[in-house]
């Protein structure tokens, strides 16, 4: 209840009738202004989420039309755990997150600290490292596909020149396809991590560093004793959002490997795509969608719980 209410009351006290009609008009206006967004989100986000829960208990091949829907209880979820491709996808998702998130955060925080504290032309470096992040993932994927070419690509030519006679075949190599995609992903999101860390660092009061300098603290001590602890919330935020985004990786995999060779680079969202939009098994794809949704909820709640415990200590 702000000054606004008081102003409104005093303005309307002369005429109670206008006050009430104004209030009613505001009520009405509120709903009109919020309506498009709320209707859109309920219709295109909440309703689909709940529908996919219902669908996840059915067997339905879209090709058969609406009449082909058949409830099959928890069969889809039972099948998930017997589906080698889904289990591989799950494993790849975990590897992917574990291999990209901590590493980019570590490199990101170090580069951000150096850019923030030591470098001239900060904007230049921010922009330079951020460029891959704003580029079309598909266009970037096309570039890396050429770089990764097994026999003629510059990367393997370099490796062979360095004396590695039999370099990995990267995207077409079952043992390296996922790693090759992780490398592109790391390259793409590093700039994002740097930007978020820099935003966090710019909120740390300069006086703290001044005081530390007077006490004779070295740059590394300042980083460990001031920057790191005060970046706690930023780091926490980045850890959650980056983990969640890495769970959703799809574009690179669809464009570069279609999950292959032999499912070696498949991930959950790719499996959802394959089951739902190539095989039209809508029920099974919905069960996978819910598995993904629950995993994301789990990550969020675990991180929130550990975080709140830390705050209480």
């Amino acid at each position: 209840m702000s000054e606004r209410m008081i102003v409104r009351d005093s303005a309307s006290s002369a005429n109670p009738k206008t006050y009430w009609t104004r209030k009613r008009r505001e009520q009405w206006a509120g709903w009109v202004f919020i309506a498009p967004e709320v209707i859109g989100l309920i219709g295109l986000s909440l309703f689909p989420l709940l529908s996919s829960l219902v669908l996840s208990f059915t067997e339905w091949n879209l090709v058969g039309g609406l009449s082909a829907i058949r409830f099959n209880g928890v069969d889809n979820f039972v099948q998930l755990f017997k589906d080698d491709h889904f289990i591989l996808a799950l494993k790849n998702n975990v590897l992917f997150s574990a291999g990209t998130v901590p590493l980019t955060m570590l490199i990101g925080i170090v580069l951000a600290a150096l850019i923030h504290k030591k470098l001239y032309a900060k904007t230049f470096f921010k922009v330079a490292f951020f460029i891959p992040y704003i580029c079309s993932t598909v266009a970037i994927a096309a570039v890396w596909q050429a770089l990764y070419h097994p026999s003629k690509g510059p990367l393997n030519q370099l490796l062979m020149q360095l004396g590695i006679s039999n370099p990995p075949h990267w995207l077409v190599d079952t043992s390296y396809s996922l790693i090759a995609i992780m490398i592109i992903y790391i390259w793409q999101i590093l700039g994002y991590q740097i930007i978020i860390f820099l935003a966090g660092m710019s909120n740390i009061p300069e006086e703290l560093y001044e005081a530390a300098k007077i006490d004779g603290a070295t740059g590394i001590q300042q980083f460990r004793r001031i920057t790191l602890p005060l970046l706690g919330p930023t780091t926490f935020f980045l850890a959650i959002t980056s983990t969640i985004s890495s769970f959703k990786v799809f574009d690179l995999i669809k464009f570069l490997t279609n999950g292959g060779p032999n499912y070696s680079s498949t991930v959950i969202v790719y499996q959802i795509y394959e089951e739902g939009f190539e095989r039209f098994r809508m029920g099974y794809a919905s069960a996978m969608s819910w598995a993904l949704f629950l995993m994301i909820l789990l990550v969020t709640s675990i991180t929130w719980m550990t975080q709140s415990r830390k705050v209480h200590q």
């Binding site: 606004r4 102003v7 008009r25 009520q27 009405w28 206006a29 509120g30 709903w31 202004f33 919020i34 498009p36 967004e37 859109g40 989100l41 295109l44 986000s45 689909p48 989420l49 529908s51 996919s52 923030h116 030591k118 470098l119 001239y120 921010k126 922009v127 330079a128 490292f129 951020f130 460029i131 891959p132 704003i134 580029c135 079309s136 598909v138 266009a139 970037i140 096309a142 570039v143 050429a146 510059p154 030519q157 020149q161 994002y192 935003a199 300069e206 935020f237 959002t241 574009d251 669809k254 969202v269 959802i272 795509y273 939009f277 919905s286 969608s289 819910w290 993904l292 909820l297 969020t300």
Partner: protein, 278 residues
């Protein structure tokens, strides 16, 4: 930090970083140089960073003047990105205005609903949305893509936060002059929210321009393809012609890169305040 006097160690570090960032961007330099080469020279090793034999015009023609021109994909992408961005700004700022400045029954509930909506991953709703679009007869239309992209609890939240910081005095003054809620919204809220509208607009534009998953699921006719789908089309068509592919990549990246370099402050700020993608 203000660097008042020049420290030699920092100068050296800056130079090292400059070298590092050139290395970091090498894949993009490779793309640029390959887009101007003949197919034979693309693979020459050590890499010819400056092409010996220029083939820029032929590659350009293959991308822009072939049977299927990249220009078509461009027009589709521009159309979808512009309409989606404008609609998102309008819908989200209306919601932001209602949630920050209008008192109505259920506002607190709607606000928490919006926060909860931010948790729903798009990928978990793909299947039903695809079915809905098919049932509505919108499959393989641009309308489907636009409709899927214009409702965002995230942007509404950002706009709500910004608008809540606008002083009520200005709105009061307008109201005393007899302006209704629509005039207040249009003539006062929107102009005062310009900085955040610019940020939201550019970020939404970038996401829409780069979106691959949405068009992949909703479109099937080549003539409707956006740039990322066009890239896939080219890959299937010219997969082995790397120089042509690199020319297409350059074409896909350049407009956004130019936009980003021109508005880097807004983009970086926008990413930093929200920091959630997708």
């Amino acid at each position: 930090m203000s660097l008042t006097r020049i420290k030699p160690s920092n100068v050296i570090l800056t130079v090292l970083f400059a070298v590092l960032s050139v290395f970091f961007l090498l894949p993009l330099f490779w793309m640029l140089s390959a887009s101007a080469k003949t197919e034979r020279d693309v693979w020459t090793f050590p890499i010819q960073w400056i092409p010996k034999e220029w083939n820029l015009i032929a590659n350009f023609k293959a991308v822009w003047m072939g049977d299927v021109s990249f220009g078509l994909f461009y027009m589709n992408s521009i159309k979808i990105a512009v309409i989606s961005t404008l609609a998102t700004i309008l819908i989200s700022s209306m919601a932001g205005y209602a949630l920050s400045k209008l008192e109505f029954k259920g506002r607190a509930f709607v606000f928490s609903l919006m926060l909860a909506f931010m948790m729903i991953p798009e990928q978990a709703t793909l299947v039903p949305r695809y079915i809905m679009i098919k049932e509505a007869g919108l499959y393989d239309t641009h309308a489907a893509l636009i409709l899927m992209g214009i409702f965002s609890s995230y942007f509404s939240f950002l706009l709500r936060q910004f608008m809540a910081s606008i002083h009520d005095d200005m709105l009061e003054a307008a109201e005393l002059d007899g302006a209704g809620f629509f005039r207040v919204f249009w003539n006062i809220m929107l102009p005062l929210s310009k900085p955040i509208l610019a940020t939201v607009g550019i970020i939404k534009f970038i996401w829409t321009w780069n979106d691959y998953q949405g068009p992949l699921i909703m479109l099937t006719s080549t003539k409707l393809f956006t740039i990322p789908l066009g890239m896939q089309f080219f890959q299937e068509e010219f997969g082995t012609r790397i120089a042509v592919m690199m020319m297409a990549s350059v074409a896909a990246i350049i407009p956004l890169l130019a936009l980003f370099l021109a508005l880097q402050k807004q983009v970086i700020q926008g990413i930093a305040i929200g920091g959630v993608k997708g």
